[in-house]
């Protein structure tokens, strides 16, 4: 995770287009300016960033499903539950599953676990639109390569 750059996924561990599921991993950094304020002397991973982590994981599933022709933009979060604290250095396993693939939108359910223990879960809605410009898409492809996005799914 690089919190200041909003790069919250370290790598894609598993992605199944048949099952419409994805699993990613992310290690909370031990150092971040965010922890200076959240909270002084008691660093905790902000809940909104946990939700963003679930959104980014879902987003990569949707990008794969649409073979890099659509960019998912986070539109709504429902039933978000933050069940336990997450502290610097912890390794998170993030899972997401497609609930509905609509026309121009999609809905997923996602959760995060840490050492097998439930951390949080939510239902997430995304608008799916064409990439705003080629450089945007190129930057996403660069991130995809860094997090082991399985490029072979684009040709399946």
């Amino acid at each position: 995770m690089r919190l200041e750059y909003f790069l919250l996924i370290d790598r894609i561990v598993e992605l199944s287009l048949g099952d419409h599921t994805i699993r990613t991993e992310a290690t909370v950094p031990t150092q971040s300016t965010i922890f200076e304020g959240h909270f002084p002397g008691h660093p905790l991973m902000p809940g909104v960033l946990l939700i963003e982590t679930m959104a980014q994981t879902s987003g990569w599933l949707l990008i794969a499903m649409h073979k890099f022709t659509r960019m998912p933009f986070f539109a709504a979060v429902k039933e978000a539950k933050l069940r336990t604290f997450v502290t610097p250095g912890q390794v998170l396993t993030v899972s997401a599953k497609l609930v509905h693939d609509g026309s121009g939108f999609a809905i997923t359910k996602a959760d995060i676990k840490c050492e097998g223990k439930a951390v949080c879960n939510a239902e997430l809605t995304f608008r799916l639109v064409e990439f705003p410009n080629p450089s945007f898409r190129a930057s996403m492809e660069k991130v995809a390569a860094e997090i082991a996005f399985p490029m072979e799914v684009l040709h399946g």
Partner: protein, 96 residues
């Protein structure tokens, strides 16, 4: 079995917290009922599920933006229900 309109009206009422009595076949989802595009995604999700279809929102939006269709053709509820019935017929599916 509910008619298409009754099912859609109930979905809108429950999803957007609008009194069922205020929803008529002549209601325009956007202009009369004040439903915005984000709320309409929830409605589209519920309609897709209820009827086993996929409302072609992207196509409709494109047609409206291109001036090839008006919002009334898709978002006045009697017209929306007619489009739903067409999609059901095309799919050979039955309402839930």
């Amino acid at each position: 079995m509910s008619s298409t309109f009754d099912t859609v009206a109930n979905i809108i009422s429950e999803t957007c917290d609008i009194e069922r009595e205020k929803i008529t076949p002549e209601s325009h989802a956007i202009d009369d009922l004040g439903i915005d595009s984000l709320d309409f995604l929830d409605i589209a999700f519920a309609i897709d599920k209820a009827f086993g279809i996929k409302l072609p929102l992207e196509q409709w939006t494109q047609e409206v933006n291109d001036g090839k269709a008006t919002t009334e053709q898709y978002f006045v509820l009697k017209n929306l229900c007619a489009r739903i019935d067409e999609l059901i017929a095309a799919k050979g599916a039955a309402p839930a």
